[in-house]
C-alpha cells in the first residue's frame, strides 16, 4: 500500500485493488480495441465480474454480496478506469450504483431474490429508465404512464438514452401512476404521481414482453463500448408485484438515488483525470520538437503542474464526500460539489491533453482522443452541471 493513502485505504483494500487491477488487465484491456470498435461488450463479461464479487461489493451476504464498506467500491471504480473503456464502465456502474441500490433499499424479499441476487452474480442485467425524449433533468414531467388494471400495470410511453437498454433483463422504470402533466390544476402535484416498476423485459417463457420494444441502438459522441438504447412501451402488461416501494413515491426515490450515482461519477472522473494526466506526461517526455522533448518546455511543465494540483484538490473533495457518505452523514452538498468540480475538471484537462498530443491527439487511434469524447458525458449525465449548481445554491443558503 502507498503509505500516503493509509488514511483512506487499509491493507485489505489494497489486496482488492491488486485483484481488480489484474482482472482488468487480463479480462478487459486485451479486448478494449475490439469492443470499442464493434460498440459491443459481450454479456458474459458481467458474469465474470459477478464471479469475482465485483457486482455486490456493498450488499449483504444474504443476497450474495460481500458487505464491504464504500471504499472498496471506490477502489473498484478507480481500477475499472484502467480498462480504458469508459462506456463499458458506465454499463457496469448502472448495474452496481444506479439500479441495484434502489432495489436493495426498497425491494421486497421476493423482488431481491428474483432480481438483486442474479444481478449481483452478473446473470441478469439491469437498466434505469427515467429519461424520456421530452425531458431528462425535469423528472417531474415524466409522461410514460402505468395504469393499474386488476392485478397488472399497463404501461405506455417511451424512454431514451437508456444505458444497458438493449440487453437489460429488468428495467427500473419510472412511470406516472398519478397526477397529470397536461392538466394545469394538477400539474403542481405532478411529481407526486411517479412510481418505480421493476420492468421484466421478458415474460416467464423467456420471450420479449408483448408491447415492449427496443428501438435503434443510439449512436453517440463517445462511450462507444456502452449499450445505449431507446425503449418503447405500448399497452405493455406487468404483474403488480413488480411495483418497487410505494405507489406515487417515485419522485423521492429518484432524488435519493442520485447521491450514490453522482459520487461514483466523481470518483471515476478523478480516476480518468489521473489517467489522462499520466498518458499526456508520458507523451510529453517522449515527443521531440525543436530538438528538445516537449516536457522540456516550461509552458507544458507549468500547465501540467497546475493540473496535478487541481486533480489532487478534486481527489480530496471527492474522498471527503465518500467518507461522509460511507459514515451515513448527510452530504448532499459535498457530493454535488464533488460531481460538479470533478466532471468539469476532467473535461478541461482532456482538452489540454489533446492539445499536448498535437495532431496525434486528434487521431482516433490515440486513447486521448477517445477519452476526450467519452468524458464529455460526465457533466451531462447523473445531473447536469447546471443542476449541480442549482443544488449548491440551495445547500449553501446563497439566496437570502
Amino acid at each position: 500500500m502507498h503509505h500516503k493513502n493509509r488514511s483512506y485505504f487499509t491493507e485489505d483494500h489494497e489486496i482488492f485493488r491488486k485483484s481488480v487491477r489484474t482482472f482488468v488487465e487480463k479480462e478487459l484491456l486485451p479486448h478494449q480495441k475490439e469492443w470499442e470498435e464493434k460498440k459491443f461488450v459481450p454479456k458474459e463479461i458481467f458474469k465474470k465480474l459477478g464471479d469475482q464479487g465485483f457486482l455486490g461489493i456493498n450488499y449483504p451476504a444474504e443476497y450474495g454480496g460481500s458487505g464491504c464498506d464504500l471504499w472498496y467500491k471506490v477502489v473498484f471504480a478507480e481500477e475499472m478506469t484502467h480498462a480504458r473503456m469508459n462506456g463499458f464502465a458506465m454499463d457496469v456502474f448502472v448495474q452496481t450504483d444506479i439500479t441495484s441500490p434502489v432495489i436493495e433499499k426498497l425491494g421486497t424479499p421476493e423482488q431481491k431474490k428474483e432480481i438483486l441476487e442474479p444481478a449481483i452474480k452478473g446473470e441478469k442485467i439491469l437498466a434505469l429508465g427515467v429519461t424520456e425524449p421530452s425531458g431528462g433533468s425535469d423528472v417531474a414531467r415524466i409522461r410514460t404512464t402505468a395504469k393499474k388494471v386488476g392485478n397488472e400495470y399497463v404501461i405506455n410511453g417511451s424512454k431514451t438514452f437508456i444505458t444497458n437498454g438493449s440487453r437489460a433483463d429488468y428495467i427500473v422504470l419510472a412511470v406516472r401512476t398519478g397526477g397529470s402533466i397536461t392538466d394545469k390544476e394538477t400539474f403542481k402535484n405532478a411529481y407526486q404521481g411517479l412510481s418505480f416498476i421493476l420492468f421484466p423485459t421478458k415474460t416467464e417463457d423467456g420471450k420479449t414482453r408483448p408491447g415492449f420494444s427496443v428501438g435503434r441502438k443510439l449512436l453517440k459522441m463517445g462511450n462507444d463500448s456502452s449499450d445505449t438504447a431507446e425503449l418503447s412501451f405500448s399497452d405493455c402488461k406487468v404483474p403488480a408485484k413488480y411495483l418497487l416501494g410505494e405507489e406515487n413515491k417515485g419522485f423521492y426515490y429518484i432524488m435519493q438515488n442520485f447521491q450514490g450515482e453522482r459520487l461514483i461519477t466523481a470518483v471515476m472522473s478523478v480516476a480518468s483525470s489521473r489517467q489522462l494526466w499520466n498518458d499526456a506526461v508520458a507523451y510529453l517526455n517522449e515527443r521531440q520538437a525543436f530538438g528538445r522533448r516537449l516536457a522540456d518546455f516550461q509552458v507544458w511543465q507549468h500547465r501540467f503542474a497546475q493540473w496535478a494540483a487541481e486533480i489532487e484538490a478534486a481527489q480530496e473533495l471527492t474522498y471527503r464526500a465518500v467518507d461522509l457518505y460511507n459514515r451515513k452523514i448527510p452530504c448532499v452538498k459535498e457530493i454535488t460539489m464533488a460531481k460538479l468540480i470533478t466532471t468539469e475538471l476532467v473535461n478541461k484537462l482532456a482538452y489540454d491533453c489533446v492539445q499536448a498530443h498535437g495532431g496525434y491527439g486528434y487521431m482516433a487511434e490515440y486513447d486521448v482522443s477517445r477519452i476526450f469524447r467519452d468524458v464529455r458525458l460526465l457533466t451531462i449525465g447523473a445531473g447536469a452541471s447546471e443542476i449541480m449548481r442549482e443544488i449548491i445554491v440551495k445547500e449553501t443558503g446563497l439566496m437570502r
Binding site: M1, H2, H3, E11, D12, E14, I15, F16, K18, S19, T22, F23, K26, D51, Q52, G53, F54, G56, I57, S66, G67, C68, Y72
Partner: protein, 258 residues
C-alpha cells in the same frame, strides 16, 4: 495431508528503484510491494492440488517484515487455508540462512509437498528451494512447467524445462519440493468474497531470531548502486555490403571482440 507454499513479498515490477543516499539499501517509502510473480504459480498449484485431495490443508509461509503480512493475506484471499509469518526485523538474511530458518519452521509439520517460485524477482538468486531440499533431504524439481498428481495421490509426474526445447520428466513420491516456472498454470485472482474470508483465516506469527541457531549469513551486502545507464546504440546505414563492412570494423576496432 499438508501442502506448503513459500512466498516472498517483492517490489512491484513497475516500481522505479531508488538507492538510499548512504547506499545501504533501497528506498522503500514509495515502493509498491507484490507477491513474487513466480510464487503466484506456486500458490495456484497448491490450491489446485488441494482441490484434488479431500482433507488436504494448504498453508503459506513467508519471511519478512510486518508488511509481508499483506502478501500472506493475498495468498489466503486466493484460497490458501492458513498462513505462517516469520517476522524478520534483522534485515540481512542470505539464501542459506533463509533456508535454515524455513527448515527449522517446516521440518516437524508433516508436509507432503512444498511449492515455491523458481526464483524471487528482487535478488534473482534462485537457490533457496534447492538449499531447503538439501536440509530436508528431499528431492526437488526446479523450473517445473507441468505438475500432475498421480491417481493414487502418492506423488506426482513433473515436467522440467531444459534449454533448447528439451524436457525432463520426473515421477516422484511425496515428500518433495517444486520450483514453479511461468506457464505451469494461470494463477486465479483473489475474489472479493475470498478477500473477506481471508480476514478470518489464521496466521501464525513466529520470529526469525528464534530459528537462527546462532548462525549468521555467509553473504553480506556492502553497498548498492544502480546499473550504469545503457549507452545509445549506433545505427549503420547504406547498402548491406557497406553495413557489414562497417560492422566488422566496429567489432574489431571499437569493441575489440574480433
Amino acid at each position: 495431508m499438508n501442502i506448503a507454499v513459500l512466498i516472498k513479498q517483492v517490489p512491484d515490477t513497475e516500481t522505479k528503484i531508488k538507492i538510499k543516499p548512504d547506499q545501504s539499501g533501497i528506498e522503500e517509502g514509495d515502493i509498491k510491494f507484490i507477491v513474487n510473480p513466480y510464487d503466484e504459480f506456486a500458490i495456484e498449484e497448491a490450491i489446485k492440488t488441494k482441490e484434488k485431495i479431500p482433507g488436504a490443508t494448504t498453508f503459506v509461509v513467508s519471511i519478512g517484515p510486518e508488511r509481508a503480512g499483506e502478501a500472506i493475506r493475498t495468498a489466503l484471499a486466493m484460497g490458501i487455508d492458513k498462513g505462517i509469518h516469520i517476522v524478520n526485523n534483522e534485515p540481512a538474511l542470505d539464501s542459506y540462512l533463509t533456508a535454515k530458518v524455513l527448515h527449522g519452521v517446516l521440518k516437524e509439520r508433516n508436509i507432503s509437498v512444498i511449492f515455491s517460485g523458481k526464483q524471487a524477482i528482487d535478488f534473482d538468486h534462485g537457490q533457496l528451494t534447492q538449499m531447503l531440499a538439501d536440509m530436508l533431504d528431499w528431492p526437488c524439481v526446479m523450473i517445473t512447467e507441468s505438475f500432475q498428481l498421480k491417481e493414487d495421490k502418492s506423488g506426482a509426474k513433473l515436467v522440467r524445462r531444459l534449454g533448447g526445447g528439451a524436457k525432463e520428466i520426473y515421477e516422484i513420491a511425496f515428500p518433495f519440493l517444486v520450483g514453479c516456472e511461468k506457464g505451469l498454470n494461470t494463477p486465479r485472482y483473489a475474489s472479493l468474497p475470498g478477500i473477506m474470508k481471508a480476514k478470518t483465516k489464521p496466521v501464525e506469527k513466529l520470529l526469525v531470531s528464534n530459528y537462527l541457531e546462532g548462525q549468521s549469513a555467509f553473504v553480506s551486502y556492502k553497498n548498492y548502486e544502480l546499473p550504469p545507464e545503457r549507452m545509445a546504440g549506433k545505427k549503420l546505414e547504406g547498402e548491406p555490403q557497406i553495413q557489414a563492412q562497417s560492422l566488422v570494423k566496429l567489432l574489431r576496432e571499437e569493441s575489440k571482440v574480433i
